[in-house]
């Protein structure tokens, strides 16, 4: 055996072992768990299609799926709009550009658990910051996290705030690739700023928008710590996320087979939704 061949195998052996144990095995075992009942205490028993059938008819699971779509319906447009607006502002000649950029990015580096605790207090009905501002301008306070109609939107706004800095960076990178000549030519033509945005900037940024949509969709499907800390999934299960339901089944009910089934379903849903989004946005690109 050649020395290079031997070194190659020798040096990658630890990673290959790791991959087999902590990536390949769990992926395959997830598919096995779908067909098992297992509480981790007694021996696992065959479940046939019990878990799949349960999932199909589990109103709580579908509630969490619906909640995720409510979250995404608010979060995606808001995330795109705010990230794009801030990126456009930052793309102008500015003093202290690094400072502005760093300020917008700050919440990205802070732990989600901290942000959730902090925003719980901002949203608090009686002493929260938002309601104090509302009462100051003469409006009545809103029970942000305890009203089933406002709880999920409130979480969606918070997550948008936490992640926007990340997407601003993506859009800024895209803006740098719009050729100056194009912008100048279009300025000479005398088109309005809105038309320029609509017909030059926005289409040029489509690849970035697809990326923003994909990443924030994946992120949205994985919502966990925010409802876990802020609402416990309530009120009326309106903020119960899929991962929170998975966690509850594994940790509180000890139903490993069913929790794994939720995990597999979640992975499939992410794949499907992202594929559809890319298809739709890809068609927009062709136009």
């Amino acid at each position: 055996m050649r020395a290079e061949e031997r070194s190659g195998w020798f040096l990658t052996a630890p990673f290959v072992t790791f991959l087999l144990a902590f990536a390949v095995y769990p992926i395959l075992f997830a598919l096995v768990l779908v067909f098992l009942h297992w509480d981790l205490v007694t021996a696992p028993s065959l479940a046939g299609f019990d878990n799949v059938r349960l999932l199909a008819n589990d109103a709580r699971f579908w509630r969490s799926v619906a909640n995720t779509f409510v979250f995404l319906a608010i979060h995606l447009p808001l995330q795109i709009a705010t990230a794009l607006a801030l990126a456009l502002a930052l793309n102008r000649p500015l003093v202290f550009r690094a400072f502005w950029r760093a300020a917008f990015f700050l919440p990205v580096v802070i732990s989600g658990a901290v942000v959730a605790i902090l925003w719980s207090s901002l949203y608090a009905t009686d002493v929260g910051l938002f309601n104090q501002l509302l009462t100051r301008i003469g409006l009545s306070p809103v029970p942000w996290l305890t009203d089933p109609r406002t709880a999920m939107p409130a979480i969606a706004v918070m997550v948008t705030w936490k992640n926007v800095g990340f997407y601003v960076i993506i859009y800024l990178a895209g803006l740098q690739y719009i050729p100056r000549s194009c912008q100048e030519a279009i300025e000479i033509e005398g088109v309005s700023p809105w038309q320029r945005f609509r017909h030059l900037t926005l289409p040029s940024l489509l690849p970035q928008t697809i990326l923003v949509v994909t990443l924030s969709t994946i992120n949205g499907f994985q919502l966990f710590i925010e409802p876990y800390v802020m609402t416990g999934g309530g009120p009326l299960r309106r903020t119960y996320s899929i991962v929170l339901y998975l966690y509850t089944n594994a940790f509180s009910y000890q139903k490993m087979g069913y929790a794994a089934t939720i995990g597999v379903a979640l992975a499939l849903m992410i794949g499907l939704v992202v594929a559809i989004q890319r298809r739709v946005l890809g068609t927009a690109e062709a136009l």
Binding site: F15, P26, F29, A89, L106, S111, L133, L211, L215, Y247
Partner: protein
């Protein structure tokens, strides 16, 4: 008109910046306020106090959690750098059978959402008897596919002539990696180090599953359990606990913000 536009631009930017910074300032200020002031909008406490910190420190083992978090995040970061470089070096610069397959599998693993493997990994940890051990917090993170692919990409750009002449001098592969590649790869290593450390520092779902013993909890986990379990008792105390998690990050961020942004924005762009 031009001036008016600039005034509007800076006003908008300032409002945006305040929106992102003020909540954290308010949080810091609230930790020095007594309970009856806790909800006040202003930043200056009328009756400044350290009581929240004393209560927080007395009620839960936050010192220990800080040590746990530093230990876990540092070990993982060092492992990802050292073991990841070795793997990436072989995957980039050594010809061996199985390399294309390994590259493909590593990329494929990245596309699998973590929630798919969460439960099987958890049952694996239970069967290994690793619940309530550092091993459960560290071992599943010893390698990181994103880091390996990033380093591999970087290592691919280093000229072959450097390797050839080093081999001629009788250097082994590991010496080539650590004495020739590492100094050249500093920016890539910094990027990997930051997102790995931050990922571990902020991780909360995995510790919630595999650790129940308070003495072994990492900071975000203990904070979550503490705030939810009502152990805090008041807002100021919860936020004081959150400060231990935030302050080191903010200090590092202020000095290294360019690297943080590059690292954390870069690592997400993998789809």
């Amino acid at each position: 008109m031009k001036t008016l536009g600039r005034v509007a631009l800076y006003t908008a930017l300032s409002i945006a910046a305040i929106t992102f910074i003020y909540p954290f300032l308010w949080m810091a200020a609230s930790t020095f306020k007594p309970p009856f002031e806790a909800g006040a909008l202003g930043l200056m406490p009328d009756n400044p106090t350290f009581e929240n910190y004393k209560v927080m420190w007395a009620r839960a083992p936050f010192g220990r959690a800080l040590v746990n978090s530093i230990l876990v995040a540092t070990t993982i970061t060092l492992a990802v750098l050292v073991l990841g470089s070795i793997t990436a070096y072989a995957m980039a610069r050594l010809n061996f059978r199985g390399r294309p397959l390994l590259n493909a599998v590593t990329t494929a693993v990245l596309l699998v959402p973590g929630q798919l493997t969460l439960i099987p990994l958890y049952t694996l940890i239970v069967q290994l008897g690793w619940i309530d051990t550092y091993a459960a917090l560290i071992v599943p993170y010893l390698f990181n596919a994103t880091a390996i692919l990033m380093l591999r990409q970087f290592f691919l750009q280093i000229p072959q002539s450097l390797i050839d002449s080093a081999r001629m001098d009788g250097m082994g592969e590991l010496r080539i990696l650590f004495t020739i590649f590492w100094p050249l790869a500093r920016p890539a290593l910094a990027i990997v180090a930051i997102f790995t450390f931050m990922g571990s520092w902020n991780e909360v779902l995995w510790p919630l599953l595999v650790v129940r013993e308070q003495q072994l909890m990492t900071l975000p986990q203990l904070l979550t359990v503490f705030a939810l379990g009502g152990g805090a008792g008041s807002l100021g105390v919860s936020l004081a606990a959150a400060m231990i998690l935030v302050v080191p990050v903010v200090i590092a961020y202020v000095f290294l913000q360019r690297y943080f942004i590059e690292s954390m924005a870069g690592s997400g762009v993998k789809g």
